[in-house]
Symmetry: C2
Subunit: 215 residues, 2 copies
DNA sequence: GGATGTGAAGTCGTTCACAGCT
DNA sequence: AGCTGTGAACGACTTCACATCC
């Protein structure tokens, strides 16, 4: 298979399709039409069909889509049928939250390492919250640990001012995916997949919309 | 002023321009060209100029943009020059993290209330972490408190299965902006500004890109 | 000279509308 | 009859290229 040019927006929507298909499945539904799935995901029905069409034909004309079947197919497309090994770098408030927030992760993501400049202090603080000992490593060990533990994706949750230093460290490892939670724009060599996820930008967007509401 | 049709992507970028302008200002820079700002934000220079052109003329030909001036202008456009009063609904791991993560908020966002179905238990758990007493309210009181404390924006950090119930409660209040951190698609009446911000969708996107990397 | 502001061109994504299956 | 799959129309956003102004 070779999916030449799939819009990024399509990929984002596929994630939400999976979530809603799982809800439908849990409710005992068996088939769903593009129109229904579209409604619950807040998109256009043609959009659903187009998104799926990038990857094959999963429906039955006159009927719809078998829910379990479609969910499995999308998971395979997205790579959610395999385990992804994740590291968290920077265990402040956000990093610690991600570290503890097991529910946040579907079972295909697994946190296999956590790094911070003050391993001992941070480990103490976190394990106080959990009651269990927690392993926090110094970023010096990133390269070695990334290899040993086969880390696929790093999540950067340091202060913005440290983000580029972390990115430089990551560039020297076998890690190839990065999710950057800081507002800093990080530079990485070709071949790395980097996504930014800075939540106040979205908050600013809400503020803007409220700001210019007529009334 | 009336900004008929500004792309949402433009608004998102304006947030990042502000961040980078503030970094430049802190470094003692005075003027910046669209080309330089664009580079540090990872976008095209024409894009920067187009984005700004939606709102006016802020630059000087042959020179560039005065950094402080431009930052102030963008903040005014986005509504970041006024205080926005925020509530967090659902104080689990993520909600608690947002509640405590003061640095996450620029000074124009202020958390003025936190809600959870188990106020007493949750308040105990959170204040254990901070050492200070923390007020957690039952969602029953949302309408009353929203009015008294003039809440502008609600952040939903409950489990996905509760999100619609929360949305229904919000619909009855004076709150008009919502940031939904759950994967559920919430339905709200006209006149509400809702943005979804579900982080595993972005993680899935990274996984997808890694999945289909040739090699 | 040099960088902005902007029409025009280009690219990308969404929606329509209907042919084609079941 | 109903719903998918898809070419074609449409619309939106981005990039180019250059006239304009400091």
């Amino acid at each position: 298979m070779k999916f030449s040019k799939v819009p990024e927006a399509t990929i984002r929507r596929l994630s939400t399709y999976v979530h809603h298909l799982e809800v439908l499945e849990k409710n005992g539904e068996v088939v769903v039409s593009s129109a229904n799935l579209a409604r619950s995901c807040g998109v256009n029905a043609a959009q659903v069909r187009k998104d799926l069409a990038y990857f094959g034909e999963f429906g039955i004309r006159g009927v719809g889509y078998y829910i379990k079947d479609l969910a499995d197919n999308i998971k395979t497309i997205l790579g959610l049928n395999r385990e992804w090994r994740v590291a968290i770098i920077g265990i402040g408030n956000l990093g610690a939250s991600l570290l503890l927030y097991k529910e946040f992760f579907k079972n295909n993501y697994k946190i296999v390492a956590a790094f911070d400049l003050n391993p001992a202090e941070v480990a103490g603080r976190v394990s106080e919250r959990t009651g269990k000992p927690v392993e926090i490593l110094h970023p010096d060990r990133l390269k070695e640990v990334a290899k040993d533990r086969r880390i696929d994706i790093a999540m950067i949750t340091t202060p913005a001012s440290e983000a580029q230093k972390v990115a430089d460290l990551i560039a020297q490892t076998t890690i190839r995916g990065v999710l950057n939670f800081t507002p800093a724009q990080i530079q990485m060599p070709k071949g790395f997949e980097v996504k930014n996820y800075f939540f106040t930008a979205v908050l600013d967007n809400v503020a803007y919309l409220l700001r210019w509401k007529r009334r």
